[in-house]
Amino acid sequence: MDFKEKSISRKRFIKKALLAVLTIEVFWLLGRFFGFHKGKKRTDKLFDAGSIQSFEKGKFYFYRSQGFCLYCLDDGGFLAMDLKCTHLGCKVNFDRESQRFICPCHSSAFNAMGEVLSSPAYRPLDLYVVMLEDNRLKVDLSKAVKRSDFNIKQIFYHS
């Protein structure tokens, strides 16, 4: 009898120990899953777009491999926009005639400022922060800034 009782309690001990380990494991997995642990932090990506004198007013400059475009406005301001459609992540194409960004996947359309002209997208194209360093335009690609509408503050003016 003594032996039997002991064996049951050992069994229970092992069961509980396993359960405890499993619980820790599950929490650890959940933590990783929801990104509580910060893995490789992306280093600041300051992209050098070129000398400020090299941009013509009223023109779009595309940096396809970086996934963004730089719009040099008629008044000399700059707007850096992510080319990823805010609907489902396809890369938008630019139609020069109508000055629109058009997404080939679900035909959302955006105007030159990135505002939605035609659904299913409902958020304007994301922005990147533009800054001037040593007379060269730098675009901060580390974070795409989400916006709900266009306002004049989003345009970067130098001097």
Binding site: F33, F34, G35, R64, S65, G67, H87, L88, G89, C90, K91, V92, N93, C103, P104, C105, H106, S107, V116, L117, S118, S119, P120, A121, Y122
Partner: protein, 410 residues
């Protein structure tokens, strides 16, 4: 050895079967042909695995090489493609068949659930296999689906990143999809499929009406003969398709640029069309979940009226109602799509458009149901079937509209 294989195959069937269970219009052989397609897919998949390289740099090239230099390589890839396409079609038809011939109730309820799991696995196979050629179409189609997942409340981002192994579709995603497609999913499919087949036998075979029971014939040759004929027809059909129509392969994936025209595979065309008009959270997540819950509840509804094995519950009135519901859902869907294209898309935000269209749809559908229920006995069974017809009718209409749009007819 051979003898035991033969015995095993024969043991998939009982020694004697009901004569009415093996008539063509009982099952149309859809389940059996699907099993055969799965084995054909396994066989061609194993062969394709000899040449395919799951690497972003080499994947596309390996398929080009397969197409041009391996003996019968193109044919094997085509057979894999066409078998998968037909499997998708047959699984859906199989689902419709068991539902409308009332073979999902009582002891078959459990098997209906295993069938739903199998359906999910088939679509998971299609989705993961779609990325493997690493061409433009597959790359952007997977990007779109992964971004739909992101709209899932709270865990969306984590889910998408888990699936893709990163923030966007990359070579890591390719490896992950390859392993899912050729390692994880086949094992799961094999297990669930075995249970699915075993449960059919446990339920004493195909569901047939009580009054048709009692006439037994020997499985071999009666059933085996029919099965062999069905398999032969299927093999001939797939081989013919594979000889004359190649599996699609567009230009290599370009991560910076989407082609001007991009289309979803036909089994996702309805979903693509839906996402054109309504918000991804609703169209891509909430509605599919609602439909799934409905499918889970269906075999529990109206049990007292079930006539197992009777097509459409036998009554003429109900058949008419199904037809009416189908026509109604088709018209309503077409109307909403036209309305959305003409007015809503350019003048309203998609959120308001979604609220408008979803409420119009559900109010109209409820009105239709109430109208029907006033004119017939309120039975849970007929309600559940009519709701199913309405939803399915709408989705099929969306698929057809999507395909027409892809073909640039509209």
């Amino acid at each position: 050895m051979l003898n035991s294989i033969k015995r095993f195959l024969l043991h998939l069937h009982p020694p004697r079967v009901e004569i009415n269970a093996i008539k063509l219009n009982r099952t149309f052989g859809l389940g059996g042909m699907s099993v055969f397609l799965v084995s054909l897919l396994a066989l061609t998949g194993i062969l394709l695995r000899f040449v395919y390289v799951p690497d972003a740099e080499k994947a596309y090239r390996s398929i080009e090489l397969l197409n041009h230099f391996n003996s019968a390589g193109r044919l094997i890839r085509n057979i894999h493609y066409w078998s998968a396409t037909i499997l998708c079609l047959f699984s859906v038809l199989h689902l419709l068949r068991v539902l409308f011939s009332q073979a999902i109730y009582f002891e078959r309820k459990k098997n209906w659930y295993y069938g739903l799991v199998l359906m999910f696995l088939v679509f998971a196979f299609c989705f993961t296999g779609y990325l493997l050629p690493w061409d433009q179409v597959s790359y952007w189609a997977v990007t779109v689906v992964a971004n739909v997942l992101r709209y899932f409340p709270v865990i969306g981002d984590a889910l998408a990143s888990f699936l893709l192994d990163g923030r966007f579709v990359s070579e890591h995603s390719l490896l992950r999809f390859y392993h899912l497609h050729t390692g994880v999913l086949p094992v799961l499919l094999f297990m669930v499929l075995s249970i699915h087949i075993w449960l059919v036998r446990k339920a004493k075979g195909v569901a047939i009406p009580q009054e048709q029971k009692g006439q037994l014939v020997n499985t071999s040759p009666h059933l085996v003969y029919k099965e062999l004929v069905a398999l032969l027809i299927l093999i001939i059909a797939i081989t013919t398709l594979s000889i004359f129509f190649n599996a699609p392969l567009s230009t290599p994936a370009n991560l910076d640029r989407v082609p001007e025209i991009i289309t979803a595979p036909w089994y996702f065309a309805g979903m693509q069309e839906l996402l054109l008009h309504i918000h991804p959270l609703v169209g891509g997540i909430l509605l599919p979940i609602a439909f799934l819950i409905f499918l889970i509840v269906v075999p529990k509804m109206g049990l007292d009226e079930v006539k197992v094995g009777v097509w459409f519950n036998g009554s003429r009135q109900l058949k008419k109602l199904y037809a009416l519901a189908l026509i109604f859902s088709v018209l309503l869907t077409v109307l909403l799509v036209v309305l959305s294209d003409a007015i809503i898309k350019d003048s309203f935000n998609v959120i308001w458009g979604t609220v408008f269209m979803v409420s119009v749809y559900f109010v109209t559908v409820s009105g239709f149901l109430i109208f029907l229920l006033r004119n017939l006995n309120r039975s849970m069974l007929s309600i559940s079937m009519i709701v199913f017809v309405l939803f399915t009718g709408s989705y099929i209409t969306l698929t057809i509209i999507g395909l027409l749009r892809d073909a640039q007819i509209i």
